[in-house]
């Protein structure tokens, strides 16, 4: 079985699965249960000057019957006394010396930072995470994302903490910026030992259409919150990859943002995360989900012949490149497996209205172009339906592809409800690979020469 243990800038953990700072890490009792369930580490709910929360704090995006595809919150940092939190941190560390306990912090002045850093170290924390990301409430008081959005301020505070701390310091970044490299590089400059991202995205999760109040409603008023959950995963993956491939970032990354399964986690690790942090999925299903995350990741690593999760870190980063480096002469086309096709024709209508009019039906072999309603379009090629096999599940409803016209966009494959029914098949174009950048440099060379 593959070794899942990690060492992230000196913070050791039996596996890469950490709980992100949030409601699941509010107190020691919770974190001890989480460690019992298998979590390797936990980032303690952000400590600072205890706040007062409002009632009604969460809102969700439900998509086509699936609950909590995205989650939004307006909860602030800890509302419990600092002494209680530190007492519990001490108790957790005493009972679980091999698990990682990272304390998330958010205060204002240099003195306060120094003081809370020392208290955390005294309580036995393995690392610190500076919350420069919270995009609601705290930022109105000059903390959280209002720091994360100002690279100079971020760098300065990071340097205060780095100077005061004898344990690793992670800087948690907000995605609410134009370019994640700006705050990322500022954190590196300030002396951070690692980066955590993404924090939540500034958001309004919905509107109560009966009372005309945004959600979540607090006595008929609302405010912007922080958005997280499965829906934000692609945004997080991009920001992590952008930092991971930057030569100026040589410190490890803790990946956060919509991770619900071992598969998500593996993707984050492959794009440069050393540890991964989970919050929404635990809020949805409980700590127990880590069992499959550990099991699944371990099986995956074994399947891939990797002896340690460290071999996976950043494995996909070299293949993340600029658009200008992609091969213009690579061609794939869609192919429908008519034995699997059930005849729903979602690929047909998606291609007709939402893509490139390359899928046709037996009922309408040239449907985009027939007669009077052609809006000026003309058949680009005349395509005859192929002969069908009797085994086809969708019968006469099975559409077919004009491979000449297919641009290989993947849309049909994405909308098809039947797994492996539409495959994207590589075509030999007979041309050598050539990227846009290569083409441009050749032309420039031509002009110059």
């Amino acid at each position: 079985m593959a070794d899942l243990a990690i060492n992230m800038c000196g913070i050791k953990s039996p596996n890469p699965f950490w709980l992100a700072s949030g409601p699941p890490t509010n107190c020691g009792e919770q974190i001890m249960r989480a460690f019992d369930a298998g979590w390797g580490g936990a980032v303690w709910k952000t400590l600072g000057d205890p706040i007062v929360n409002v009632s009604s704090r969460l809102g969700s995006v439900d998509y086509a019957g699936n609950r909590m595809s995205g989650l939004n919150n307006i909860e602030l940092i800890t509302d419990r006394p600092l002494e209680a939190n530190f007492r519990e941190i001490y108790a957790v560390k005493k009972k679980y010396p091999d698990h990682a306990v990272i304390v998330s912090l958010m205060v204002e002045s240099r003195e306060e930072w120094k003081e809370i850093v020392n208290m955390s170290i005294d309580a036995g924390a393995d690392g610190l995470e500076l919350n420069f990301g919270c995009p609601h409430g705290m930022c109105e008081r000059g903390m959280g994302s209002s720091v994360g959005q100002e690279p100079k301020v971020l760098e300065k505070i990071t340097s205060w903490v780095a100077e005061a701390s004898s344990i690793p310091v992670l800087v948690k970044l907000t995605p609410n910026v134009g370019d994640i490299l700006d705050p990322g590089l500022a954190a590196v400059k300030g002396g951070a030992d690692g980066l955590s991202l993404i924090n939540t995205i500034k958001s309004i999760v919905g509107v109560d259409l009966d009372n005309f109040v945004p959600l979540p409603s607090v006595r008929n008023k609302s405010t912007n919150g922080g958005y997280c959950g499965p829906a934000v995963k692609p945004i997080a993956l991009h920001m992590i990859a952008a930092l991971a491939r930057d030569p100026g970032v040589k410190i490890p990354i803790s990946g956060i943002g919509g991770i619900s399964t071992w598969r998500d986690a593996a993707e984050f690790i492959a794009l440069g995360s050393t540890s991964v942090q989970v919050c929404t999925a635990v809020m949805h299903y409980g700590y127990r989900i880590v069992e499959d995350m550990i099991d699944g990741l371990s099986n995956y690593l074994d399947d891939k012949g990797m002896r340690s999760v460290n071999e996976l870190i950043g494995k996909a980063v070299p293949n993340y490149t600029d658009w200008g480096n992609l091969d213009l002469n690579y061609k794939i086309v869609a192919r429908i497996n008519e034995e699997k096709c059930i005849g729903c024709q979602l690929c047909y209508i998606a291609c007709l209205d939402g893509a490139h009019q390359c899928i046709h039906t037996r009922q309408n072999p040239c449907s985009a172009f027939h007669g009077e309603s052609d809006h000026g379009a003309r058949p680009r090629t005349e395509v005859k339906p192929p002969v069908m096999h009797e085994s086809s599940a969708g019968g006469e409803h099975v559409p077919f592809i004009d491979e000449e016209e297919c641009v290989g966009c993947n849309l049909c494959n994405l909308v098809c409800p039947v797994p492996a029914c539409i495959e994207m098949v590589e075509q030999d174009t007979g041309k050598a690979p050539e990227s846009w950048n290569e083409r441009m440099s050749k032309q420039l060379g031509g002009f110059g020469g």
């Binding site: 005849g343 729903c344 979602l346 209508i349 969708g394």
Partner: protein, 433 residues
């Protein structure tokens, strides 16, 4: 019109497919793939845009969902309940080819129409408002689904229809014939009431040809629609076929559904149902569900040849009904203890056998009485009124027909399609299109 008593045997039945809750409907609606050129639409005789109305349920647009249904089928309330969806829309669902349970289209249609009509009642905001009156008048013979669909469609287009119903209750088989675990007479009448309030006139207890002549209707109305359904239960034509304990299937079903105080006495322990269609299966299952310990269907051919639906027979069997194949009735006698003795020929071996029973029910079809209305209307050798396929017009230029009297007994949804198409044809005729 008569009012139904509370004391009807059918009220003992519970709904086989109860009304969905909001969340059940949401879950089921979200399962729909929203196929393009969907096979379910093509399988629906009224061509309801099924994926569209299901999508509307999923988005919470219940009024829109109901309108999508009603615009194609104004009897969307009853057809949601009585359609054999397993052989129509749901039978065509692409999920059948994907080893998944097909979308429960009937139940979603019931949910949408039920909720929308409730909302209409609460808000007073009508789903449909009839157009300005055109002055055209149509007489409709019979007040079953075909006539109701035709009349309702016409009313919305500004025509004034009047229904002439021979019985005392409107609604046709929806009221008197549908298995009570699918739709009860009270519910059928609620739908009729909703349709009548569009502005449809109705006269019950009127027999055309006796109380009023067809010629009078042709004189006083711009067109006549015949939706007279079928007549009395046919008898097998064997000695001893009538007498106590011997029923026609639709006669017995009507009693279960509409008669006050009708019961199946405890002494009835064994019943033989003769026939192989859906009416035979229905009455057999109803009697079994009402507690008759032994109900046997006797069919003259094999199970594979039965005109009744396989899924209905399967459900009946779950309630204890048994099928005897290749049995032809020959004679009925009464035994000394008052029971019935049916002599049959077993076609498997050619031998005569005797079956004892307390009741005998004939479900071998119904008479084709509509043919008697006028000699000017062409009727085929089966006794069905002949109509033009596109317009449902009979050989008489002012007379249209639809429902069981033109097809010998199909589904309610076919009758609805007939009524709507006839109405459209009349409107086209008058507009000179």
């Amino acid at each position: 019109m008569d009012k139904l008593s509370e004391n009807r045997l059918e009220t003992r039945f519970s709904d086989a497919k109860p009304l969905y809750t909001d969340s059940e409907a949401q879950i089921e609606a979200n399962r729909c793939l929203f196929c393009y050129d969907a096979p379910c639409i093509k399988a629906c005789p009224t061509g309801i845009d099924i994926p569209a109305f299901i999508k509307k349920i999923a988005t919470g647009n219940i009024r829109g969902a109901a309108k999508t249904i009603f615009e194609a089928n104004l009897l969307g309330v009853s057809t949601a309940r009585v359609c054999p969806v397993e052989t129509l829309c749901a039978g065509a669902c692409v999920y059948n080819d994907y080893d998944k349970r097909p979308i429960q289209i009937g139940r979603l249609q019931r949910y949408a129409t039920n909720r929308a009509l409730k909302m209409e009642k609460q808000s007073g905001r009508k789903l449909f408002t009839p157009k300005k009156k055109t002055g055209k008048k149509v007489a409709l013979i019979g007040a079953g689904p075909a006539s109701l669909a035709c009349a309702a469609y016409l009313t919305l287009e500004g025509v004034e229809p009047v229904l002439f119903e021979v019985g005392n209750l409107p609604g046709g088989l929806n009221t008197t014939g549908i298995a009570p675990y699918k739709l009860q007479a009270t519910e059928a009448l609620q739908e009729v009431e909703w349709l009548l309030q569009f502005g449809i006139g109705i006269k019950t207890g009127v027999t055309v040809g006796k109380d009023i002549q067809l010629q009078e209707l042709l004189r006083d109305f711009d067109a006549v629609f015949i939706g007279a359904g079928l007549g009395k239960d046919k008898l097998p034509g064997i000695p001893g076929e009538t007498g106590s304990g011997r029923w026609g299937a639709t006669e017995l079903i009507t009693k279960i559904k509409t008669d006050s105080g009708f019961i199946v006495p405890d002494e009835v322990q064994q019943v033989l149902v003769i026939g192989g269609g859906n009416t035979a299966i229905d009455i057999a299952r109803e009697l079994a569900m009402l507690g008759v310990p032994e109900v046997n269907i006797l069919y003259r051919r094999t199970e594979a040849e039965m005109p009744g639906y396989a899924h209905e027979l399967e459900s009946a069997r779950k309630h204890g009904v048994r099928l005897q194949e290749c049995i032809v009735p020959k004679e009925v006698e009464e035994s000394s203890n008052g029971r019935l003795v049916l002599t049959v020929e077993n076609k498997n071996n050619g031998k005569l056998e005797k079956f004892e029973s307390d009741w005998l029910v004939y479900a071998i079809g119904q008479e084709k009485h509509a043919a008697r209305l006028s000699k000017e209307i062409e009727v085929n050798d089966k006794g069905w009124i002949v109509v033009d396929e596109a317009t449902r017009r009979t050989s008489h230029p002012k007379i249209y027909a639809g429902g069981d009297c033109i097809n010998g007994g199909k589904e309610v949804v076919n009758a609805v399609a007939d009524g709507r198409e006839a109405a459209k044809a009349m409107l086209r005729e008058w507009s000179g299109e």
